[in-house]
């Protein structure tokens, strides 16, 4: 019973950790890719 009650907060905690971890690496990567694309488009113009 206790485990079932704990599952909700633990799932939320896990989801938060996943969002933070993926955001930590994903945001700089997306920023870099966007910069490269912008430069590529500028170069073609």
């Amino acid at each position: 019973m206790r485990m079932a009650n704990d599952r909700g907060p633990r799932a939320t905690h896990n989801a938060l950790k996943l969002a933070l971890a993926w955001g930590f690496v994903g945001i700089p990567l997306v920023w870099g890719v966007v910069q490269t694309l912008v430069n590529a488009i500028k170069a073609f113009h």
Partner: protein, 460 residues
């Protein structure tokens, strides 16, 4: 330092395996900076002259050695320290890689400050290169253990980060140098220090969140294939025994030829498209194209390694070699019919397969040699990369020069090169055909290598 021990990094119950790819990316995105190191080349030739090259300033040819030394030490450290990485676990390896990589930047900053190139070679080249090697292989076997159902996709994600690191590093380096530069100062040393601090923090986060799965762990709902697949083993080969198998050397050749073809044209892509499409592709447009090709190089790492989970590693390499040979042979035709679109299409696919070759090979090794020593075996295989790094550019440059010297017009000077690259891929195709399952005698437990395999098993 007990928190670095493998036992301290065993995942607790309920730990999500999807935290491992970001941990791996923390390392690979940082060490991928190596691909963008060329942004420092020009500023480092003006450390004394500031706006122009002074007589005492470093030459580009001298600076080119920094990257070459780093890549040499990448291969050497991955080959020599692979077993240490494998047995000590990913946290210790990532922690060490972070210290070496950021330390390399700090030492290089001292070299720039004192204007002593040997210190830069020692810092970025040797220390940074060791960080590159340890960092590159550190998450490989951990990812494979967490994702037995999708090993190609898992390692592809990390190795995609190595390709993507340059996208972050190039604009970041340029921005930092613009902030630190003054009318009397270029700002390279300060940029090195800032980047060393950023990379140290970033990689330490990776080392902190990485975990190894508990013994016997399997993903929920995962059922190991009952029907054994011919080229996928469920057993393990000891790291040094793998070197005795023909399969290791065939995969070495497969990687070497795939990388040779890709790396050869990678370095010359800008000049090649300008010469093949004179007056149609300018230097600025060429730099944009290179950025675009680099995106395909990065995306191909994830795409092809994920595909390999469904069609198999051997078939994926068949696609690389067959389609690659066809596309390389098609490039001269694109020049003959003056089709920029066809040229861009050929190169985009070629670069995606170049990246895909890097990303798919750890899973190929896991299929052939098992999971236990895959990181260490992968480390040894990276010597193929070092070899290709010499072969590829030498082939492309010398063949082009020979053609130009013998009166071939610049627009057609790369045609022979493309056919030679296509031929290399045909050899790679044959090497891939020859890969068969590893012989029984090499597996741990059949003829144990001097008890080493058993000792390691007992330790775990």
């Amino acid at each position: 330092m007990s928190f670095l021990h493998r036992d301290r990094s065993v995942a607790p119950p309920g730990y999500s395996r999807w935290l491992i790819p970001p941990a791996a990316l923390c390392v690979h995105l940082c060490i991928g900076e190596a691909y963008a190191f060329s942004v420092f080349n020009l500023p480092m030739t003006k450390l004394i002259g500031i706006t122009t090259h002074a007589p005492n300033d470093w030459k580009l040819t001298e600076l080119g050695w920094i990257f070459s030394i780093a890549i040499f030490f990448l291969g050497a450290s991955a080959a020599l320290l692979g077993r240490w990485v494998e047995e000590g676990g990913p946290r210790r390896a990532m922690f060490t890689a972070a210290l070496c990589w950021s330390g390399g930047f700090f030492v290089a900053a001292i070299g720039v400050y004192l204007h002593n190139l040997w210190i830069v070679y020692l810092g970025y080249g040797v220390l940074g290169g060791i960080g590159l090697g340890i960092g590159y292989i550190s998450p490989v076997s951990t990812l494979i253990r967490w994702f037995p159902d999708r090993p190609g996709m898992a390692t592809g994600m990390a190795i995609m980060g190595f390709g993507g690191g340059a996208f972050i590093a190039a604009p970041l380096s340029v921005w930092l140098m613009s902030k630190f530069s003054t009318p009397s100062h270029v700002g390279v040393a300060e940029t090195f220090i800032a980047m060393g601090i950023i990379y140290l923090c970033f990689m330490m986060v990776g080392a902190a969140i990485v975990r190894v799965p508990p013994p016997g762990w399997q993903p929920a709902g995962y059922v190991a294939p009952v029907q054994p697949q011919r080229l996928v083993t469920t057993r393990d080969v000891f790291v040094y025994d793998a070197l005795k198998t023909p399969q290791f050397w065939l995969v070495w050749l497969v990687l070497c030829l795939n990388v040779t073809a890709g790396i050869g044209v990678l370095g010359q892509a800008s000049a090649m498209c300008q010469e093949m499409f004179h007056h149609r592709i300018t230097a600025v447009a060429a730099s944009g194209l290179i950025g675009l090709f680099s995106l395909f190089n990065m995306g191909g790492r994830y795409f092809w390694s994920s595909i390999s989970d469904f069609i198999g590693r051997k078939n994926t390499y068949f696609v690389f070699f067959a389609l690659g040979a066809f596309l390389y042979a098609l490039v001269p035709h694109s020049g003959a019919v003056r089709s920029v679109a066809l040229f861009v299409f050929c190169y985009a696919v070629i670069f995606s397969m170049y990246g895909g070759g890097f990303a798919t090979v750890p899973a190929y090794l896991r299929d052939l040699f098992g999971t236990r020593y895959v990181g260490a075996i992968h480390g040894m295989l990276l010597t193929a990369w070092s070899m290709a790094g010499i072969l590829g550019p030498v082939l492309v440059n010398y063949i082009r020069q020979y053609n130009v010297t013998h009166g071939v017009p610049a627009a057609q000077a790369y045609n022979v090169t493309m056919y030679v690259m296509a031929f290399l891929l045909v050899i790679g195709f044959v090497a891939n055909v020859l890969i068969r399952p590893v012989a029984e005698r090499y597996y741990i437990g059949e003829t144990e290598p001097q008890g080493v395999g058993r000792r390691v098993m007992a330790e775990r």
